[in-house]
Symmetry: C2
């Protein structure tokens, strides 16, 4: 099921397209079933290719899966960066960040699963760990940039930007965990409210 046509075209373009197909398929599968229950045969069939081809491209299963994890996280942040251009005021931007992490309607309910698996892998594999740290720094930089812009625009009161950023990013992570795990008292709406409240209070907004 969901078997795609073999990639048309020739030369190096084929290889690139294939790699991307496979990374995307792997990411989806990890999200659906979890890292350790994702088989290369699954990835292969999603892409309409043989398991051998997957190995042909990635060498080992582990290499495929960890690359897929990083690929997915990277595209997540790229998407936020994009989205951020659309809001103007600090308050609106903060809102954008929040509803990106804690969307009103769960985009796809298993997206969260990737985060958890990413953390598990990062915990034990130095390369993944390094990657995750860099991406997270990128995320914090994004938050910091929003705040600093607010300070310059005079919308934000006095804050230690560095420290606020670290605190608030951690808070978001923690809230995401609760919501992702369907905590009966911490639902999406409450989590969003708390995230916004804390930001506004600390930044002296409103």
């Amino acid at each position: 099921m969901a078997v795609k046509e073999p990639v048309k075209g020739t030369g190096a373009a084929v290889a690139d397209a294939r790699r991307d197909q496979m990374l995307a398929a792997a990411a989806r599968l990890i999200a659906e079933r979890g890292f350790s229950d994702t088989r290369i045969a699954d990835v292969a069939s999603r892409v309409g290719a043989s398991p051998a081809l997957v190995i042909y491209y990635f060498g080992t299963k582990d290499s495929l899966l960890t690359e897929a994890l990083r690929w997915s996280e990277r595209s997540f942040y790229a998407a936020v960066e994009e989205m951020l251009h659309e809001s103007a005021s600090v308050d609106a931007r903060i809102g954008t960040l929040v509803s990106w992490c804690l969307p009103e309607t769960r985009r796809r309910s298993d997206d969260w699963g990737l985060w958890f698996d990413l953390w598990v892998q990062a915990f034990r594999h130095p390369e993944v760990k390094k990657d995750r740290a860099e991406l997270d720094q990128q995320w914090r930089d994004l938050v910091a940039r929003v705040v600093r812009a607010g300070v310059e625009a005079g919308e934000v009161g006095e804050v230690d930007v560095e420290e606020f950023t670290i605190m608030w990013a951690a808070l978001l992570d923690g809230l995401v965990v609760q919501v992702a795990l369907d905590d009966p008292v911490v639902d999406g709406a409450l989590a969003r409210r708390i995230a916004l409240d804390v930001a506004r209070r600390n930044l002296g907004l409103r």
Copy 2:
């Protein structure tokens, strides 16, 4: 290595002791290698028994591992509860909570791994999810109790206890993630400082 003697004694006591041995061994192994890389043969040899015996007690591998996860989390919270009796003021108690989650000297560096694996399992297995939610509620109740005691003692200013608790618990989780994953900018000391700052500021302490 680390093979223990078969349990002495007779009757039902043997069975109980064995189950506990196995749960403890499994928890350690999960922490060391991760959930999906823990084999029943490993658990068996740590306990000085045959793989067959492990199945004899737990029926399936999965049942053993998820029970081990819950067992371990339960004992974690039990230990905090214990420890809390020793501090008196709100401020001291808050400090206790923080340094329990983010200890100065990492107790055993792989303890964190269990949390991540627990989250991964909880995300996909409803029973584990329910268990985790309950335990987490217990943890929040603990925090809330500390805060309420502070309010009654007049040490704490005006707060929405419910909301503070949820917020602060999530913050701790988020900070734990960063520290556990060796984030280069969020080390243990900084995380502790942030956690304490936020608590003090929100509770009007100091």
